[in-house]
């Protein structure tokens, strides 16, 4: 059966190379090999069915599969971060909020620091995923937050 799926490697549509032959070594651990003309490259394959991670030479590469199922999903949601409209900035790590750099009404550019979170004994800056205007700030210095906690709401700037 031919695999009709589309493969997005780090977001880029990428066709599998039929020259490589895939084989599991220890499936329970995701251990596998790619072979081509006597060349063997060890890979680690994890995840599925839609979101996968392939590790090659220590580099973790995100692969998204869009088959019929996955295409439906993509169409019904906006998988790529929208450039307009409201957006929620969430914590990517649990930790302690040590600084909030913005206030409601502030205009921010993509990449601007919004909130500083101390985790793993390091300060980590949570940055704006895109330009916009701060609608609300949901975090305060001294607050302990969990991963995924809402920090800042952004919207398109008021005209």
């Amino acid at each position: 059966m031919r695999d009709e799926a589309e493969f997005l490697v780090e977001g880029q549509p990428t066709a599998p190379d039929p020259e490589w032959e895939f084989g599991w070594l220890a499936r329970g651990h995701g251990d596998a090999t790619l072979r081509r003309d006597g060349e063997r490259v060890p890979v680690l394959v994890e995840g599925g069915p839609a979101e996968w991670v392939v590790t090659i030479r220590g580099r973790r590469i995100a692969v998204t599969v869009r088959g019929h199922r996955e295409r439906l999903l993509a169409e019904s949601s906006q998988l790529a971060a929208p450039r307009h409209g409201p957006a929620e900035v969430r914590a990517t790590l649990p930790g302690l909020v040590v600084k909030v750099a913005v206030r409601p009404g502030d205009l921010v550019a993509e990449g601007d620091a919004l909130v500083t979170v101390e985790a793993m004994k390091m300060e980590n800056e949570i940055r704006a995923p895109r330009a916009g205007q701060v609608v609300s700030v949901e975090a305060a210095p001294g607050q302990t937050i969990v991963s995924g906690a809402l920090l800042v709401r952004l919207a398109d700037p008021e005209p």
Partner: protein, 503 residues
């Protein structure tokens, strides 16, 4: 040999606790581990002969002097080894241990105090006739900002109580100084409970070279050569090697002599490290002295054959260092890479999650000190160091080749680690030639190489192959490249509706 102690409390966690427990067992000492709630079944607890609970709080537990002393009393330990980090450089802890009638495995508290404060250490070095980096000899406050301009930017803000790169900020222009001071002070206060800062000139293109010291309680002092620790991100080390590549015989001797001078300027025994900066002309400046075991002590052990942890325990019990430790025979070259739970392609941001596959290399000349294992949830409250991979070979080219081989044998699933960075590093001409400095990560790595077409195709092929053979039975281990975290769950509801009407 009579064991130096009957029972020792290991006041730490992770790989360094396991390292110390191993030394204890080899010496016939019973090792007592300590644990917080999240560490109840951690690898270091299982490695020990006994274990004592020291409280619920994840990080605070290992910083609680009272809880640790209670644990030592309950377990009837005779000595306490602090490892590195946590309380290892706390003179207060060392005094409390001694006052409780136990032996502290580390330098004398007065030395920890005098040298643990990096400002005081600079003054000690100057008094001993050892050169220090140009900079302030007193704590900074905003009133002194004008003076900083005379030093010349770029400058480095540092925490006087610092260590592990915390509370360090590079400042390129005067306008950025107030913000850098605020931020460094916050980080230093959180990490060390002391926000005292000082400022020194940033030496560009410098290498970071440090000398290992080991002393007994009878005046015996071993200067166990240097390590190069120049591969750093955020002023934290990633790779260490011994000996430092490309040092002239004279430079090596001068640095060793200055390290000895500093140790002789204070009461000293146990293990410590004197850190220096080395510029392109091989001038060296004293940076700081760490009065504890270092993360990278293993590379010195490999090239000298001296078990530093075992000797820390033995000199703590009063033994004298023998000739083969005072004048070791140097053998070959050793390199260590640190495997951190960080994403090198995302500015070395810490990653969290559950480790999936975990396979460390072995074979000739390979040593792994690990604190984790397969299927372990990574606690977020601790330093993200997972393991240290060390190789030892007759010379540096052979050590680099061995490191490359060992990295290729390593498999880590579930979380992003520095493995991919190290695999890149061992193919870099500058690293292979041993000609690199602290600019390697910012200049050569920057944000990491982009994905090649070949790698992309291989990744797609691997997933296509995995799909064709069925989904591997580990579906939940993957999605922590950091990208796919905030997805709405609504599409799934929609899909289940769609699937319900599919033929």
């Amino acid at each position: 040999m009579t064991p130096p102690f009957r029972r020792v409390l290991v006041a730490n966690r992770g790989e360094i606790a396991i390292r110390i427990i191993r030394a204890c067992r080899e010496l016939g000492i019973e090792a007592v581990a300590v644990y917080s709630d999240v560490d109840r079944d951690a690898p270091h607890v299982r490695a020990a002969d006994r274990a004592e609970h020291i409280g619920p709080a994840a990080a605070a537990a290992y910083l609680s002097i009272d809880a640790l002393l209670d644990a030592a009393r309950r377990s009837d330990a005779e000595a306490v080894h602090p490892g590195y980090g946590f309380l290892s450089e706390s003179a207060t802890f060392a005094r409390a241990v001694t006052a409780a009638g136990l032996v502290f495995v580390g330098p004398p508290p007065e030395t920890m105090q005098a040298l643990g404060d990096k400002l005081a250490a600079r003054r000690t070095a100057v008094d001993a006739g050892v050169p220090v980096t140009p900079g302030l000899m007193v704590a900074v406050d905003t009133a002194r900002l004008v003076e900083l301009d005379d030093l010349g930017y770029p400058l480095l803000v540092k925490a006087a109580a610092g260590g592990g790169g915390r509370g360090v900020r590079r400042v390129d222009r005067p306008a950025d100084m107030p913000e850098a001071l605020d931020s460094a002070r916050r980080e230093a206060t959180a990490a060390f409970g002391d926000g005292t800062l000082y400022v020194e000139r940033l030496i560009l293109g410098a290498r970071h070279v440090e000398v290992q010291l080991l002393g007994d309680r009878h005046g015996g002092l071993a200067v166990l050569g240097e390590r190069d620790c120049s591969v750093q991100r955020r002023h934290q080390k990633l790779v260490e090697e011994a000996p430092a590549p490309g040092l002239s015989h004279e430079t090596r001797e001068r640095i060793a002599a200055d390290a000895r001078r500093i140790a002789e300027a204070v009461p000293f025994h146990s293990a410590a490290t004197v850190e220096f900066l080395l510029d392109r002309e091989q001038h060296h400046w004293f940076l700081e002295m760490n009065t504890r075991l270092q993360v990278e002590h293993g590379v010195t052990e490999l090239v000298t054959g001296v078990d530093l942890v075992a000797w820390q325990l033995r000199v703590a019990a009063g033994e004298r260092l023998p000739g083969e430790v005072l004048e070791p025979r140097w053998r070959g070259h050793a390199i260590q890479v640190r495997l951190y739970a960080e994403d090198p392609w995302q500015g070395f941001r810490p990653t969290t999650g559950r480790i999936g596959a975990w396979r460390m290399p072995d074979g000739p000349g390979v040593r792994v000190d690990a604190g984790v294992e397969a299927d372990l949830d990574l606690p977020t409250e601790y330093d993200p160091l997972l393991a240290k991979l060390m190789v030892h070979a007759p010379d540096r080219p052979a050590a680099v080749a061995r490191l490359r081989r060992a990295l290729d044998e390593t498999r880590i699933g579930g979380v992003s680690t520095t493995l991919g960075f190290h695999r890149w590093l061992v193919d870099q001409p500058a690293f292979i030639a041993g000609k690199y400095d602290t600019g390697l990560v910012p200049d050569l790595w920057a944000d990491g190489p982009g994905l090649s077409d070949r790698e992309g195709q291989m990744a797609a092929t691997a997933v296509a192959g995995a799909r064709a053979t069925g989904v591997p039975p580990r579906p939940s281990a993957a999605p922590s490249t950091g990208a796919a975290m905030t997805r709405s769950e609504r599409p799934w509801a929609r899909l289940s509706r769609d699937e319900a009407v599919e033929p």
